[in-house]
Symmetry: C2
Subunit: 234 residues, 2 copies
Amino acid sequence: MPPSPRTRPPLHRVTVLDAAVELADAEGIEAVSMRRLAERLGVVPMALYKHVSDKEDLLDGMIDRVIAQFQPGDPSADPSADPSAWPDAVRRVLLSTREVVQRHPWARRVIETRTHRTPAVLAYMEAVTQLFLGGGLSPDLTHHVMHVLGNRIWGFSPELFNDPGGRPASDRPRTSGQPVPSDFPGILAIAADASARRPGATGCDEEFEFRFALDLLLDGIARLHASEWASPPL
Amino acid sequence: MPPSPRTRPPLHRVTVLDAAVELADAEGIEAVSMRRLAERLGVVPMALYKHVSDKEDLLDGMIDRVIAQFQPGDPSADPSADPSAWPDAVRRVLLSTREVVQRHPWARRVIETRTHRTPAVLAYMEAVTQLFLGGGLSPDLTHHVMHVLGNRIWGFSPELFNDPGGRPASDRPRTSGQPVPSDFPGILAIAADASARRPGATGCDEEFEFRFALDLLLDGIARLHASEWASPPL
DNA sequence: CTGACGGGTGTACATCGTACGCTTTCGCGC
DNA sequence: GCGCGAAAGCGTACGATGTACACCCGTCAG
Protein backbone atom coordinates (compact mmCIF):
# COMPACT_ATOMS: atom_id res chain seq x y z
CA MET A 1 0.00 0.00 0.00
CA PRO A 2 1.87 3.02 -1.25
CA PRO A 3 1.75 5.90 1.22
CA SER A 4 -0.53 8.49 -0.22
CA PRO A 5 1.20 11.76 -1.00
CA ARG A 6 1.55 14.45 1.63
CA THR A 7 4.15 17.12 2.12
CA ARG A 8 6.72 14.46 2.92
CA PRO A 9 6.43 10.72 2.49
CA PRO A 10 6.10 9.03 5.87
CA LEU A 11 9.21 7.70 7.50
CA HIS A 12 9.92 4.02 7.74
CA ARG A 13 12.41 2.09 9.77
CA VAL A 14 14.84 1.72 6.90
CA THR A 15 14.48 5.38 5.95
CA VAL A 16 15.53 6.33 9.46
CA LEU A 17 18.33 3.78 9.59
CA ASP A 18 19.73 4.74 6.21
CA ALA A 19 19.66 8.41 7.13
CA ALA A 20 21.55 7.57 10.31
CA VAL A 21 24.14 5.61 8.33
CA GLU A 22 24.50 8.52 5.95
CA LEU A 23 24.92 10.93 8.84
CA ALA A 24 27.54 8.72 10.46
CA ASP A 25 29.41 8.38 7.18
CA ALA A 26 29.41 12.14 6.68
CA GLU A 27 30.07 13.46 10.16
CA GLY A 28 31.16 10.53 12.29
CA ILE A 29 29.24 8.39 14.71
CA GLU A 30 29.33 10.97 17.50
CA ALA A 31 27.21 13.24 15.29
CA VAL A 32 24.43 10.67 15.32
CA SER A 33 22.12 11.90 18.05
CA MET A 34 18.37 11.56 17.98
CA ARG A 35 18.03 15.33 17.61
CA ARG A 36 20.55 15.74 14.80
CA LEU A 37 19.11 12.77 12.97
CA ALA A 38 15.56 14.07 13.33
CA GLU A 39 16.64 17.47 12.11
CA ARG A 40 18.19 15.90 9.03
CA LEU A 41 14.92 14.10 8.35
CA GLY A 42 12.89 17.29 8.82
CA VAL A 43 11.11 15.86 11.78
CA VAL A 44 10.91 16.36 15.53
CA PRO A 45 13.19 14.14 17.65
CA MET A 46 10.42 12.14 19.28
CA ALA A 47 9.06 11.13 15.89
CA LEU A 48 11.96 8.73 15.53
CA TYR A 49 10.73 6.68 18.44
CA LYS A 50 7.85 5.50 16.30
CA HIS A 51 10.40 3.65 14.18
CA VAL A 52 13.14 2.59 16.57
CA SER A 53 12.54 1.63 20.16
CA ASP A 54 15.54 3.53 21.50
CA LYS A 55 19.03 4.53 20.53
CA GLU A 56 20.47 1.08 21.06
CA ASP A 57 17.92 -0.21 18.61
CA LEU A 58 18.92 2.53 16.20
CA LEU A 59 22.56 1.45 16.39
CA ASP A 60 21.59 -2.21 16.00
CA GLY A 61 19.61 -1.26 12.94
CA MET A 62 22.44 0.77 11.46
CA ILE A 63 24.73 -2.22 11.76
CA ASP A 64 22.10 -4.39 10.14
CA ARG A 65 22.00 -2.00 7.21
CA VAL A 66 25.76 -2.25 6.85
CA ILE A 67 25.71 -6.02 7.12
CA ALA A 68 23.01 -6.09 4.46
CA GLN A 69 25.71 -4.96 2.04
CA PHE A 70 27.88 -7.99 2.73
CA GLN A 71 28.00 -10.67 0.08
CA PRO A 72 28.28 -13.78 2.17
CA GLY A 73 27.72 -16.27 -0.61
CA ASP A 74 28.68 -16.17 -4.25
CA PRO A 75 25.86 -18.21 -5.77
CA SER A 76 27.79 -18.69 -9.00
CA ALA A 77 30.30 -20.90 -7.23
CA ASP A 78 28.91 -24.18 -6.03
CA PRO A 79 30.53 -24.71 -2.66
CA SER A 80 30.33 -28.49 -2.84
CA ALA A 81 31.97 -28.69 -6.25
CA ASP A 82 35.54 -28.68 -5.03
CA PRO A 83 35.91 -29.59 -1.36
CA SER A 84 39.30 -27.89 -1.15
CA ALA A 85 37.95 -24.58 -2.41
CA TRP A 86 36.70 -23.39 0.97
CA PRO A 87 39.76 -21.27 1.80
CA ASP A 88 39.25 -19.23 -1.33
CA ALA A 89 35.56 -18.88 -0.60
CA VAL A 90 36.25 -17.69 2.93
CA ARG A 91 38.91 -15.33 1.68
CA ARG A 92 36.50 -13.81 -0.82
CA VAL A 93 33.79 -13.29 1.75
CA LEU A 94 36.06 -11.73 4.37
CA LEU A 95 37.74 -9.44 1.89
CA SER A 96 34.40 -8.23 0.61
CA THR A 97 33.21 -7.72 4.16
CA ARG A 98 36.31 -5.73 4.83
CA GLU A 99 35.59 -3.47 1.89
CA VAL A 100 32.13 -2.69 3.18
CA VAL A 101 33.33 -1.98 6.70
CA GLN A 102 35.99 0.34 5.34
CA ARG A 103 33.31 2.40 3.65
CA HIS A 104 31.70 2.89 7.07
CA PRO A 105 34.60 3.42 9.44
CA TRP A 106 32.35 4.06 12.41
CA ALA A 107 30.83 0.58 12.02
CA ARG A 108 33.92 -1.08 13.45
CA ARG A 109 33.53 0.63 16.79
CA VAL A 110 29.75 0.27 16.91
CA ILE A 111 29.82 -3.44 16.10
CA GLU A 112 32.05 -4.00 19.07
CA THR A 113 29.60 -2.36 21.43
CA ARG A 114 26.57 -4.31 20.23
CA THR A 115 25.20 -6.66 22.78
CA HIS A 116 22.38 -8.17 20.72
CA ARG A 117 22.77 -10.83 18.10
CA THR A 118 20.43 -9.47 15.45
CA PRO A 119 19.14 -11.72 12.66
CA ALA A 120 21.46 -10.03 10.16
CA VAL A 121 24.49 -10.70 12.32
CA LEU A 122 23.45 -14.29 12.81
CA ALA A 123 22.82 -14.70 9.11
CA TYR A 124 26.31 -13.50 8.32
CA MET A 125 27.82 -15.83 10.88
CA GLU A 126 25.72 -18.65 9.50
CA ALA A 127 27.00 -17.96 5.99
CA VAL A 128 30.62 -18.04 7.06
CA THR A 129 29.98 -21.14 9.14
CA GLN A 130 28.49 -22.88 6.12
CA LEU A 131 31.61 -22.21 4.09
CA PHE A 132 33.65 -24.19 6.59
CA LEU A 133 31.08 -26.94 7.06
CA GLY A 134 30.58 -27.15 3.31
CA GLY A 135 34.33 -27.55 2.92
CA GLY A 136 34.13 -30.64 5.06
CA LEU A 137 35.40 -29.23 8.32
CA SER A 138 33.84 -30.85 11.36
CA PRO A 139 31.40 -28.82 13.45
CA ASP A 140 33.96 -29.13 16.22
CA LEU A 141 36.78 -27.55 14.24
CA THR A 142 34.45 -25.03 12.63
CA HIS A 143 33.30 -23.95 16.05
CA HIS A 144 36.75 -23.06 17.26
CA VAL A 145 37.73 -21.61 13.92
CA MET A 146 34.85 -19.16 14.16
CA HIS A 147 36.16 -18.12 17.53
CA VAL A 148 39.66 -17.76 16.17
CA LEU A 149 38.49 -15.19 13.67
CA GLY A 150 37.96 -12.88 16.62
CA ASN A 151 40.84 -13.44 19.03
CA ARG A 152 43.46 -10.83 19.46
CA ILE A 153 46.43 -9.53 21.31
CA TRP A 154 44.63 -7.94 24.23
CA GLY A 155 43.69 -11.14 25.91
CA PHE A 156 40.07 -11.54 25.12
CA SER A 157 37.83 -12.78 22.39
CA PRO A 158 34.70 -10.98 21.38
CA GLU A 159 32.24 -13.58 22.53
CA LEU A 160 30.52 -14.25 19.27
CA PHE A 161 28.27 -16.95 20.60
CA ASN A 162 27.53 -16.33 24.25
CA ASP A 163 25.70 -13.14 24.93
CA PRO A 164 26.86 -11.49 28.15
CA GLY A 165 28.43 -8.57 26.35
CA GLY A 166 26.87 -5.65 28.15
CA ARG A 167 25.49 -5.80 31.62
CA PRO A 168 21.80 -5.05 31.74
CA ALA A 169 20.88 -5.84 28.10
CA SER A 170 17.59 -4.04 28.50
CA ASP A 171 14.73 -6.32 27.63
CA ARG A 172 12.74 -3.64 25.94
CA PRO A 173 11.24 -5.21 22.83
CA ARG A 174 13.48 -4.63 19.85
CA THR A 175 11.77 -3.23 16.80
CA SER A 176 13.65 -5.68 14.62
CA GLY A 177 12.38 -9.23 14.32
CA GLN A 178 13.44 -12.08 16.54
CA PRO A 179 15.64 -14.77 14.98
CA VAL A 180 14.35 -18.30 14.72
CA PRO A 181 16.92 -21.05 15.36
CA SER A 182 16.02 -23.20 12.37
CA ASP A 183 17.26 -20.46 10.06
CA PHE A 184 20.76 -21.13 11.28
CA PRO A 185 21.47 -24.83 10.87
CA GLY A 186 25.21 -24.33 10.74
CA ILE A 187 25.38 -22.45 13.99
CA LEU A 188 22.98 -24.98 15.43
CA ALA A 189 25.18 -27.88 14.37
CA ILE A 190 28.11 -26.25 16.09
CA ALA A 191 26.15 -25.65 19.25
CA ALA A 192 24.88 -29.23 19.27
CA ASP A 193 28.36 -30.64 18.81
CA ALA A 194 29.76 -28.40 21.51
CA SER A 195 27.16 -29.27 24.07
CA ALA A 196 27.59 -32.96 23.33
CA ARG A 197 31.26 -32.59 24.15
CA ARG A 198 30.67 -30.60 27.30
CA PRO A 199 27.33 -31.77 28.66
CA GLY A 200 25.73 -29.30 30.99
CA ALA A 201 28.06 -26.46 30.05
CA THR A 202 26.49 -23.15 29.14
CA GLY A 203 28.28 -20.95 26.67
CA CYS A 204 31.70 -21.59 25.24
CA ASP A 205 34.94 -22.31 27.04
CA GLU A 206 36.55 -18.95 26.45
CA GLU A 207 39.78 -20.05 28.02
CA PHE A 208 40.05 -22.93 25.58
CA GLU A 209 39.10 -20.73 22.64
CA PHE A 210 41.77 -18.24 23.52
CA ARG A 211 44.48 -20.87 23.80
CA PHE A 212 43.32 -22.51 20.60
CA ALA A 213 43.61 -19.27 18.68
CA LEU A 214 46.90 -18.40 20.28
CA ASP A 215 48.45 -21.77 19.46
CA LEU A 216 47.15 -21.63 15.91
CA LEU A 217 48.79 -18.26 15.42
CA LEU A 218 52.03 -19.15 17.15
CA ASP A 219 52.34 -22.34 15.09
CA GLY A 220 51.76 -20.44 11.89
CA ILE A 221 54.22 -17.75 12.87
CA ALA A 222 56.89 -20.28 13.82
CA ARG A 223 56.42 -21.95 10.45
CA LEU A 224 56.86 -18.68 8.60
CA HIS A 225 59.93 -17.90 10.68
CA ALA A 226 61.46 -21.29 10.01
CA SER A 227 60.97 -20.83 6.29
CA GLU A 228 62.62 -17.39 6.46
CA TRP A 229 59.52 -15.59 5.28
CA ALA A 230 59.93 -12.04 4.02
CA SER A 231 57.59 -9.41 2.65
CA PRO A 232 57.09 -9.66 -1.07
CA PRO A 233 59.04 -6.98 -2.93
CA LEU A 234 57.05 -4.01 -4.11
CA MET B 1 53.09 18.90 60.36
CA PRO B 2 54.69 18.58 56.96
CA PRO B 3 51.63 17.39 55.10
CA SER B 4 49.46 19.32 57.45
CA PRO B 5 46.40 17.36 58.37
CA ARG B 6 43.17 18.40 56.87
CA THR B 7 39.94 16.57 56.64
CA ARG B 8 41.07 14.60 53.59
CA PRO B 9 44.46 14.11 51.97
CA PRO B 10 44.64 15.90 48.63
CA LEU B 11 43.78 13.99 45.50
CA HIS B 12 46.38 12.89 42.99
CA ARG B 13 46.03 11.64 39.45
CA VAL B 14 46.48 8.01 40.42
CA THR B 15 44.04 8.36 43.31
CA VAL B 16 41.42 9.55 40.87
CA LEU B 17 42.26 6.91 38.27
CA ASP B 18 42.26 4.06 40.74
CA ALA B 19 38.95 5.19 42.18
CA ALA B 20 37.54 5.24 38.65
CA VAL B 21 38.83 1.73 37.99
CA GLU B 22 37.29 0.56 41.24
CA LEU B 23 33.99 2.17 40.31
CA ALA B 24 34.00 0.55 36.88
CA ASP B 25 34.83 -2.84 38.38
CA ALA B 26 32.00 -2.52 40.86
CA GLU B 27 29.23 -0.98 38.81
CA GLY B 28 30.27 -1.14 35.17
CA ILE B 29 31.82 1.43 32.91
CA GLU B 30 28.56 3.28 32.32
CA ALA B 31 28.53 4.18 36.02
CA VAL B 32 31.77 6.09 35.62
CA SER B 33 30.62 9.67 35.21
CA MET B 34 32.48 12.68 36.50
CA ARG B 35 29.74 13.28 39.05
CA ARG B 36 29.51 9.75 40.38
CA LEU B 37 33.27 9.51 40.57
CA ALA B 38 33.56 12.84 42.38
CA GLU B 39 30.85 11.80 44.80
CA ARG B 40 32.74 8.60 45.57
CA LEU B 41 35.84 10.67 46.30
CA GLY B 42 33.93 13.07 48.53
CA VAL B 43 34.60 15.95 46.22
CA VAL B 44 32.76 18.25 43.84
CA PRO B 45 32.74 17.17 40.16
CA MET B 46 34.85 20.03 38.90
CA ALA B 47 37.62 19.15 41.33
CA LEU B 48 38.52 16.19 39.13
CA TYR B 49 39.50 18.50 36.31
CA LYS B 50 42.53 19.52 38.33
CA HIS B 51 43.84 15.98 37.85
CA VAL B 52 42.56 14.86 34.47
CA SER B 53 42.13 17.16 31.52
CA ASP B 54 38.78 15.72 30.48
CA LYS B 55 36.90 12.45 30.41
CA GLU B 56 38.88 11.02 27.52
CA ASP B 57 42.00 11.58 29.58
CA LEU B 58 40.33 9.85 32.50
CA LEU B 59 39.60 6.79 30.36
CA ASP B 60 43.12 6.82 28.94
CA GLY B 61 44.43 6.89 32.48
CA MET B 62 42.19 4.08 33.62
CA ILE B 63 43.50 1.89 30.82
CA ASP B 64 47.03 2.81 31.79
CA ARG B 65 46.33 1.65 35.33
CA VAL B 66 45.07 -1.67 34.00
CA ILE B 67 48.04 -2.09 31.68
CA ALA B 68 50.31 -1.37 34.62
CA GLN B 69 49.20 -4.74 35.98
CA PHE B 70 50.44 -6.61 32.92
CA GLN B 71 53.62 -8.63 33.32
CA PRO B 72 55.18 -8.23 29.90
CA GLY B 73 58.52 -9.75 30.77
CA ASP B 74 59.44 -12.57 33.09
CA PRO B 75 62.92 -11.47 34.19
CA SER B 76 63.75 -14.94 35.52
CA ALA B 77 63.73 -16.33 32.00
CA ASP B 78 66.56 -15.09 29.82
CA PRO B 79 64.95 -14.64 26.43
CA SER B 80 68.19 -15.18 24.54
CA ALA B 81 69.00 -18.44 26.29
CA ASP B 82 66.96 -20.64 23.98
CA PRO B 83 66.11 -19.05 20.65
CA SER B 84 63.19 -21.40 20.15
CA ALA B 85 61.58 -20.42 23.46
CA TRP B 86 59.84 -17.34 22.14
CA PRO B 87 56.48 -19.01 21.52
CA ASP B 88 56.26 -20.01 25.15
CA ALA B 89 57.26 -16.55 26.25
CA VAL B 90 54.62 -14.95 24.06
CA ARG B 91 52.06 -17.43 25.27
CA ARG B 92 52.84 -16.63 28.88
CA VAL B 93 52.57 -12.90 28.36
CA LEU B 94 49.31 -13.03 26.45
CA LEU B 95 47.70 -15.43 28.91
CA SER B 96 48.68 -13.20 31.82
CA THR B 97 47.36 -10.17 29.98
CA ARG B 98 44.15 -12.01 29.40
CA GLU B 99 43.82 -12.70 33.10
CA VAL B 100 44.17 -9.03 33.94
CA VAL B 101 41.67 -7.95 31.31
CA GLN B 102 39.20 -10.50 32.59
CA ARG B 103 39.37 -8.93 36.03
CA HIS B 104 38.31 -5.63 34.44
CA PRO B 105 35.68 -6.60 31.89
CA TRP B 106 34.96 -3.00 30.96
CA ALA B 107 38.55 -2.54 29.86
CA ARG B 108 37.99 -4.55 26.69
CA ARG B 109 35.45 -2.12 25.36
CA VAL B 110 37.28 0.98 26.54
CA ILE B 111 40.60 -0.09 25.02
CA GLU B 112 38.89 -0.35 21.67
CA THR B 113 37.68 3.22 21.83
CA ARG B 114 41.05 4.73 22.76
CA THR B 115 42.53 6.89 20.07
CA HIS B 116 45.76 7.82 21.82
CA ARG B 117 48.79 5.60 22.09
CA THR B 118 49.75 6.28 25.70
CA PRO B 119 53.24 5.41 26.97
CA ALA B 120 51.87 2.41 28.84
CA VAL B 121 50.26 1.01 25.71
CA LEU B 122 53.42 1.56 23.73
CA ALA B 123 55.50 -0.05 26.46
CA TYR B 124 53.33 -3.15 26.35
CA MET B 125 53.58 -3.33 22.58
CA GLU B 126 57.31 -2.85 22.84
CA ALA B 127 57.60 -5.73 25.29
CA VAL B 128 55.68 -8.11 23.04
CA THR B 129 57.66 -6.93 20.05
CA GLN B 130 60.89 -7.65 21.87
CA LEU B 131 59.83 -11.23 22.50
CA PHE B 132 59.59 -11.84 18.77
CA LEU B 133 62.74 -9.91 17.89
CA GLY B 134 64.58 -11.63 20.73
CA GLY B 135 63.47 -14.97 19.32
CA GLY B 136 65.23 -14.12 16.10
CA LEU B 137 62.24 -13.09 14.01
CA SER B 138 63.03 -10.40 11.49
CA PRO B 139 61.61 -6.92 12.05
CA ASP B 140 59.70 -7.52 8.84
CA LEU B 141 57.98 -10.65 10.08
CA THR B 142 57.56 -9.24 13.57
CA HIS B 143 55.81 -6.24 12.12
CA HIS B 144 53.15 -8.23 10.38
CA VAL B 145 52.85 -10.65 13.25
CA MET B 146 52.00 -7.79 15.57
CA HIS B 147 49.25 -6.81 13.19
CA VAL B 148 48.00 -10.39 12.99
CA LEU B 149 47.36 -10.44 16.70
CA GLY B 150 44.49 -8.08 16.03
CA ASN B 151 42.81 -9.13 12.81
CA ARG B 152 39.38 -10.64 12.87
CA ILE B 153 36.32 -11.77 11.08
CA TRP B 154 34.69 -8.41 10.66
CA GLY B 155 37.01 -7.18 8.03
CA PHE B 156 39.18 -4.74 9.83
CA SER B 157 42.25 -4.65 11.97
CA PRO B 158 42.53 -2.39 14.97
CA GLU B 159 45.22 -0.10 13.64
CA LEU B 160 47.81 -0.66 16.30
CA PHE B 161 50.43 1.50 14.70
CA ASN B 162 48.81 4.26 12.69
CA ASP B 163 46.75 6.63 14.70
CA PRO B 164 43.62 7.76 12.86
CA GLY B 165 41.27 5.94 15.18
CA GLY B 166 38.83 8.68 16.10
CA ARG B 167 38.10 11.70 14.04
CA PRO B 168 39.08 14.92 15.78
CA ALA B 169 41.54 13.52 18.34
CA SER B 170 41.28 16.72 20.35
CA ASP B 171 44.72 18.25 20.79
CA ARG B 172 44.07 19.39 24.30
CA PRO B 173 47.22 18.62 26.29
CA ARG B 174 46.99 15.22 27.93
CA THR B 175 47.82 15.15 31.58
CA SER B 176 49.86 12.00 31.06
CA GLY B 177 53.43 12.29 29.79
CA GLN B 178 54.39 12.17 26.14
CA PRO B 179 56.27 9.09 24.96
CA VAL B 180 59.81 9.41 23.67
CA PRO B 181 60.70 7.23 20.66
CA SER B 182 64.01 5.96 22.01
CA ASP B 183 62.17 4.09 24.73
CA PHE B 184 60.75 1.79 22.09
CA PRO B 185 63.64 0.40 20.06
CA GLY B 186 61.68 -2.66 18.97
CA ILE B 187 58.79 -0.67 17.57
CA LEU B 188 61.31 1.67 16.05
CA ALA B 189 63.15 -1.17 14.35
CA ILE B 190 59.89 -2.35 12.84
CA ALA B 191 59.00 1.10 11.64
CA ALA B 192 62.45 1.58 10.12
CA ASP B 193 62.30 -1.73 8.30
CA ALA B 194 58.81 -1.03 7.04
CA SER B 195 59.62 2.39 5.70
CA ALA B 196 62.73 1.05 4.01
CA ARG B 197 60.54 -1.44 2.18
CA ARG B 198 57.94 1.13 1.24
CA PRO B 199 59.78 4.44 0.89
CA GLY B 200 57.52 7.42 1.16
CA ALA B 201 54.62 5.44 2.55
CA THR B 202 52.94 6.74 5.67
CA GLY B 203 51.32 4.26 8.02
CA CYS B 204 50.98 0.58 7.38
CA ASP B 205 49.47 -1.18 4.41
CA GLU B 206 46.28 -2.29 6.09
CA GLU B 207 45.19 -4.21 3.05
CA PHE B 208 48.36 -6.24 3.10
CA GLU B 209 48.15 -6.77 6.84
CA PHE B 210 44.62 -8.06 6.54
CA ARG B 211 45.50 -10.52 3.82
CA PHE B 212 48.59 -11.64 5.69
CA ALA B 213 46.57 -12.41 8.80
CA LEU B 214 43.84 -14.07 6.81
CA ASP B 215 46.23 -16.33 4.92
CA LEU B 216 48.06 -17.21 8.10
CA LEU B 217 44.81 -18.30 9.71
CA LEU B 218 43.46 -20.12 6.67
CA ASP B 219 46.72 -22.03 6.27
CA GLY B 220 46.68 -23.05 9.89
CA ILE B 221 43.05 -24.07 9.70
CA ALA B 222 43.60 -26.12 6.56
CA ARG B 223 46.48 -27.89 8.26
CA LEU B 224 44.35 -28.77 11.27
CA HIS B 225 41.58 -29.98 9.00
CA ALA B 226 43.97 -32.15 6.99
CA SER B 227 45.24 -33.75 10.17
CA GLU B 228 41.68 -34.43 11.32
CA TRP B 229 42.00 -32.33 14.38
CA ALA B 230 39.42 -32.76 17.14
CA SER B 231 38.83 -31.22 20.53
CA PRO B 232 40.72 -32.93 23.31
CA PRO B 233 38.43 -35.13 25.42
CA LEU B 234 37.34 -33.64 28.71
C1' DC C 1 53.09 40.58 55.52
C1' DT C 2 52.22 39.56 50.86
C1' DG C 3 51.35 37.57 46.82
C1' DA C 4 51.30 33.54 43.91
C1' DC C 5 49.63 29.11 43.37
C1' DG C 6 47.54 24.58 43.73
C1' DG C 7 43.50 22.28 45.20
C1' DG C 8 38.66 22.55 45.79
C1' DT C 9 33.95 25.02 45.25
C1' DG C 10 29.61 26.76 42.99
C1' DT C 11 27.00 28.17 39.38
C1' DA C 12 25.61 27.81 34.79
C1' DC C 13 24.98 26.04 30.09
C1' DA C 14 24.48 23.13 26.07
C1' DT C 15 23.44 18.60 24.80
C1' DC C 16 21.71 14.26 25.28
C1' DG C 17 18.03 10.26 25.64
C1' DT C 18 13.37 9.75 26.32
C1' DA C 19 8.56 9.65 29.11
C1' DC C 20 4.04 11.32 28.36
C1' DG C 21 0.18 13.27 26.20
C1' DC C 22 -1.84 15.76 22.32
C1' DT C 23 -3.00 16.53 17.34
C1' DT C 24 -3.01 15.42 12.65
C1' DT C 25 -3.44 12.33 8.91
C1' DC C 26 -4.74 8.15 6.53
C1' DG C 27 -7.35 4.04 5.17
C1' DC C 28 -11.51 1.67 5.48
C1' DG C 29 -16.17 -0.14 6.57
C1' DC C 30 -20.51 1.90 6.53
C1' DG D 1 -19.77 11.15 2.11
C1' DC D 2 -18.93 9.84 7.34
C1' DG D 3 -16.91 8.35 11.30
C1' DC D 4 -13.44 5.98 13.54
C1' DG D 5 -9.38 3.77 14.93
C1' DA D 6 -4.72 3.36 14.12
C1' DA D 7 -0.54 5.21 12.65
C1' DA D 8 2.52 9.09 12.32
C1' DG D 9 4.21 13.20 14.03
C1' DC D 10 4.46 17.13 17.58
C1' DG D 11 5.52 19.69 22.01
C1' DT D 12 6.81 19.97 26.45
C1' DA D 13 9.45 18.52 30.13
C1' DC D 14 12.83 16.00 33.10
C1' DG D 15 16.99 14.20 34.66
C1' DA D 16 21.68 13.16 33.41
C1' DT D 17 26.01 14.31 31.49
C1' DG D 18 30.59 16.94 30.26
C1' DT D 19 32.69 21.04 31.22
C1' DA D 20 33.57 26.49 30.95
C1' DC D 21 34.31 30.12 34.15
C1' DA D 22 34.81 32.69 38.25
C1' DC D 23 35.80 32.34 42.85
C1' DC D 24 37.75 30.96 47.56
C1' DC D 25 41.15 29.39 50.78
C1' DG D 26 45.29 27.42 52.91
C1' DT D 27 50.22 27.01 52.15
C1' DC D 28 54.62 28.72 51.47
C1' DA D 29 58.59 31.70 49.31
C1' DG D 30 60.12 36.20 49.36
